[in-house]
Assembly symmetry: C2
Homo-oligomer: 202 residues x 2
DNA sequence: ACCTGAACACCGTTCAAGT
DNA sequence: ACCTGAACACCGTTCAAGT
């Protein structure tokens, strides 16, 4: 985990891990079937934040938003974990604790267990996807926004008129903004689904 | 692309690509700076579906849902592409065509350019995240559902009561269900944001 | 049981040398 | 300009041999 945080996902090799642990690479295969199993264990351990509890005097949507932001910030602080996060470790103990917590929240809000599960999965998918999709980019870097503005401006106005026309406004939208809009939409949508469950299939 | 589809992402090595092209691996570096650049080019090319046009006699939300499903199905048919899809190729020509199309749709629905962009990005993030997160799993495989049911049932009822209690119902939720719930929630949320823009920040 | 050293079959990338 | 062969410094994994 220390190796992943300090030197990134590319440095997470069996040789480097073994060195950090003070043994040979071959020794690792006594404790783990292969590299993938090691990664799965590592990622599940890194997911322990999922069980943090939000402030208690708010409604379910605010709690969900709080937890979603906490989870996202945790992943942003540990980009290596985010890049390794695939469906594989979904069934690990810490992931399941997160599922249990989400079910509790969404069932309490009025969802059926089925819908609560799907809603929790959607939210997790969005959070993880959001971090993964912005991994290379640093939203706090003003250079990134400038780079995108210049790129948008220089596109072909005949085929991409809206991008060229609104280049300045679009370049200002950060990954934080994207996340907040999506989060808000998801939670608002969840609330509508609770109040009117028959629209779940149209 | 053929190599990626038939033999998967692990087989997409410079040596295999060169072989398929009938040259040496070293020759590839005449046309491309490194492997990452080649992948970026490949993925953007694979994203050309993004510009398919939905049936015209429906409202913006139905068009968005149609395009979202089309995009997801395309990625599911080409899992290798999904696994390579990171933020890197976001600025390629095909990606930008998709952005232009989404902006057109969402601005037409009543969003400001900024919000339209954020909404489009959220939706894309959700679709890609959804496919990526379910990459290893085959939702059409009944064995997968059974495996999850048994796993949920056998958890500790004291720490994960809801998972154990609703094991059967939860195991039946497929990645298709998850996607549809999330998509519905996002689009419903977008509609609410359009009708009441001041809730964009609370 | 756990560890080691050495090997195996791979990677991405570079570079002098060819045409 | 484009290609080649050969090399470099890495991978994940295996296995006989040690304790």
């Amino acid at each position: 985990m220390a190796l992943l945080d300090t030197r990134g996902v590319d440095a997470l090799t069996m040789r480097n891990i073994a060195e950090g642990l003070g043994c040979t690479q071959a020794s690792l295969y006594r404790h783990v079937r292969n590299r993938e199993e090691l990664v799965t264990l590592l990622v599940d351990r890194a997911l322990s934040v999922a069980s943090s509890v939000p402030p208690g005097d708010t409604d379910w949507a605010e709690k969900a938003a709080w937890s979603a932001r906490l989870f996202r910030e945790h992943l942003l602080r540990h980009p290596g974990v985010a890049s390794l996060l695939r469906g594989t470790e979904r069934l690990g103990p810490n992931s399941l604790a997160g599922v249990q917590y989400s079910l509790d929240l969404f069932i309490g809000a009025g969802f059926s267990p089925r819908l609560a599960y799907a809603a929790a999965a959607s939210l997790a998918t969005f959070i993880i996807g959001s971090v993964n999709f912005n991994l290379g980019l640093d939203s706090s870097d003003p250079e990134e926004s400038r780079h995108r503005r210049l790129l948008y401006r220089s596109r072909d106005a005949a085929t991409l008129p809206l991008i060229v026309q609104h280049a300045d406004a679009l370049a200002e939208v950060s990954s934080d903004d994207e996340f907040e809009v999506g989060l808000k939409a998801l939670l608002t949508g969840f609330r509508a689904l609770i109040q009117n469950p028959d629209i779940t299939h149209d």
